[in-house]
Amino acid sequence: MDESIRMTIDQQNVQAAAGSTILQAARQAGIEIPTICYHDHCTANGLCRICVVEVEGVRTLQPACVVQARDGMIIHTRSERVIRSRRTILEMLASSVDLSESPEILTMLTQYHSDAFRFPDAEARHPAVIDDNPMYIRDYAKCILCWRCVQVCAEDAQFTYAINFSGRGFETQISTFYEIPMPESTCVFCGQCVGVCPTGALKPKREWLLEMGYSPDEIMSLTRSQRQRRKRREENSPNPS
């Protein structure tokens, strides 16, 4: 792995360690490639395709986050085809999901001159907010299906497997088993899913209530009954853990 490879990115000669992805090689050379679903500590799946680049001799555009850089590659990160794909993906996202709390993506929309209202009469995903536990809310109208929450709940971190998917295609949504409330699932409320969510679809309950204008005192009284219920449950439990 200490071998190094050479390639050309946007007419610039770039050297990188063998085994690097195109994204790593580019970033190291100071060439910025945008990413959305990619997260340093999650398995990269190449879902969002915003990081696609043109590699000479390859028919389709390549996702830089997962494709290994190879010796002699000639890569274009800002070709016409690349820009068209990125701009269109961003426009489709804006027409499908509430991006109001995704400042990075909103910045990208500006950078790529995307029209957030490009698709008239487009169906958006706007399920109701799920408020079924004292720790966090799930507002899937903001979910961009980056899969990070599902991954950290499973093999990427916690091995809890509380969530997976429902539906498929455009109708896909993150879901528990038969959509049961989170406390009835295997969720341990570790909070890792909330931590990796890039769009505010998962949010601490307290933050959510504060945003809705409740004062800290009001929030304490709102959640009192929940806390008391939990306390009673713990007291009545034969094996308090």
Binding site: L47, C48, F119, R168, E171, F177
Partner: protein, 572 residues
């Protein structure tokens, strides 16, 4: 739900428990056959028995359109909604059956009848086609709905024609060729011959024959086998891709229902050539009759010593397991198919690594289409040179074409590569229906492209079609006469992809939906000025940037229609 009796399910799960997660789809099929749908306690029992997280069990149920997590009617009817059946009036048929359903006495729970629109059922030569409780019926518009519901429809039998009968030698006889008949017709001779040669030589023979995949991608079969044979590792697999679901395609169904042993023979030879111990046949969930025919063939072959340990007294051990899909076109994509066998949602994987080194269960795997494998015994029995006597240098052998739509004699046609399209259309299939003329044909199915009258002289080979900008694909040709509105055809294709996108990568997940919405506008005549540019951007973004072949071809038919019939997509 409290009165749900789980004991029959638990009994069946005992036999599957050992296999773990890979048995998830079989277990869900069991549950659904017992209860009509998959009740939550049944899903819970399955998760426990197979050691699969419950959220994942639900994720899998939700992925496959033939699995129901909520109660459905006692009788479930699927009405095909794709181009060939639409030309034959499936839309009216659907409305009629729906009307009867709504007129039926209410209050019964669950309802007695559930009627659903379905993607292509692979019965295009019998259009309009429906499934009643999984059983296929053709020309369903000629029956009363009571007869349909009671399963008294027309049972489709194979319509086979062409100028040669090599792959279809045993097809169209009106029955399934079973083992004894297959042996009388020279069956399993190729396998005996294969066992007398070295695996390397078999691979050479397949390479010399110039066989390329018949599922659509046309990858050289011999190279695939060689790569898997050379891949390190003791455990290897052969997978037969029988998830035939490209709208307009029905060739694999006919082969499986009429001549299942020829496919088995191909799989066993492939297994011997690459050093595999096990084969899988993954059959689409809608093909119940194919499943039954293949299952019987596998059982009979095992009984007769063509499968199992020490096959034909050699030291070669090989067995085959059949898996049923559950309503997901994407599972015809090879890596999605592996995921499905492994008990997961049918998400395609990133490539590389390729199946020949990291395939099913991460092991070196050869995956071939049904028709490809049916070619194998033919090549081995008579040799590559003999095989090459038909066809052209670059497209040797014969090819199965599925012709449907506005033709006089729809059906499966076997012809040598190289005959002109007009010969197939007019001389063999009888031409366009009386009183009408040829407007266009969709080559390659939903993922294909439109041919115009300018293409009637094109020779049917990989090289000629490529030059003409038409895909051979899986051999689908759906014909449209001058009365047909191609915008409606494009709308159906767009709906098909929006329904069948797995949702993994963004371009296809959202692009198929947006493409469908724009096509809805265009087909209804309410097109906006900017829709042309929108459709182009969405189409090229899917083509350039999607993760798998589905997304990369989800716009190809529409983009080809825009090129060849631009006026259809402009505001009036």
């Amino acid at each position: 739900m409290s009165d749900l009796d789980l004991s029959p399910l638990l009994q069946r799960l005992e036999g599957l428990h050992q296999q773990g997660r890979t048995a998830l789809l079989p277990a869900l099929h069991e549950a659904q056959s017992l209860y009509g749908y998959i009740p939550q306690p049944a899903a819970e029992a399955i998760g426990r028995a197979l050691n699969v997280p419950l959220a994942d069990v639900y994720g899998v149920i939700e992925f496959y359109s033939l699995f129901y997590s909520q109660p459905v009617g006692k009788t479930v009817i699927h009405v095909c909604n794709d181009p060939a059946c639409a030309l034959a009036g499936s839309e009216t048929l659907f409305k009629q059956i729906r009307f009867q359903q709504e007129a039926a006495p209410t209050g019964s729970s669950p309802p007695s009848l559930t009627v659903e629109m379905a993607p292509c059922l692979g019965l295009c030569e019998h259009a309009p086609a429906i499934l009643v409780q999984g059983q296929p019926f053709g020309r369903a518009n000629r029956q009363t709905w009571q007869d349909l519901v009671n399963g008294k429809g027309e049972r489709p039998s194979s319509l086979v024609g062409g100028t040669v009968a090599i792959l279809t030698a045993n097809c169209g006889l009106g029955h399934t060729v079973e083992l004894s008949e297959y042996l009388d017709l020279g069956g399993y001779q190729a396998l005996r011959k294969a066992f007398q040669t070295q695996p390397r030589q078999i691979i050479e023979e397949i390479k010399n024959a110039g066989l390329v995949g018949r599922g659509g991608a046309a990858f050289p079969t011999g190279l695939k086998w060689e790569a898997a044979a050379n891949a390190p590792g003791a455990v290897k697999y052969v997978v037969c891709n029988a998830d035939e679901a490209e709208p307009g395609t029905f060739k694999d169904r006919v082969l499986m229902e009429d001549d299942p042993h020829s496919i088995l023979e191909g799989i066993i030879i492939a297994g011997y050539a690459v050093g595999a111990q096990k084969g899988y046949i993954y059959i689409r969930g809608e093909y119940l009759r194919s499943y039954e025919a293949m299952k019987k063939a596998v059982d009979d072959a095992r009984e007769a010593g063509f499968l199992g340990n020490n096959i034909l007294d050699t030291d070669f051990d090989f067995d085959i397991e059949i898996r049923r899909g559950a309503g997901a076109y994407i599972c015809g994509e090879e890596t999605a198919l592996f995921e499905s066998i492994e008990g997961k949602r049918g998400f395609p994987r990133l490539k590389p690594p390729f199946p020949t080194t990291h395939g099913l269960f991460g092991k070196p795997t050869v995956i071939n289409n049904v028709e490809t494998l049916a070619n194998v015994p033919v090549i081995i029995r008579k040799g590559a040179a003999h095989y090459r006597r038909l066809g052209t240098e670059k497209s040797p052998g014969s090819k199965l074409f599925c012709i449907s739509g506005d033709v006089v004699r729809p059906g499966l046609y076997e012809v040598p590569f190289g005959i002109p399209f007009h010969h197939l259309l007019y001389d063999l299939a009888g031409g366009v229906r009386p009183g009408h003329h040829f407007q266009a044909a969709l080559f390659g199915g939903a993922a294909g492209a439109f041919a115009t009258p300018d293409h009637l002289n094109v020779r049917l080979t990989f090289e000629d079609l490529k030059e003409a900008g038409l895909p051979l694909g899986s051999g689908v040709i759906t014909v449209f006469d001058e009365t047909r509105d191609l915008r409606d055809v494009c709308l159906r294709l767009a709906r098909f992809f929006a329904e069948e996108s797995c949702g993994k990568c963004y371009p296809c997940q959202m692009g198929t939906q947006r493409q469908f919405e724009i096509m809805e506008r265009i087909a209804s005549g309410k097109v906006y000025q900017e829709d042309w540019e929108r459709l182009q951007d969405v189409g090229w973004t899917m083509t350039d940037s999607s993760l798998c072949g589905l997304g990369q071809t989800a716009a190809s038919a529409i983009l080809s229609a825009m090129k060849r019939f631009p006026h259809l997509f402009q505001p009036a």
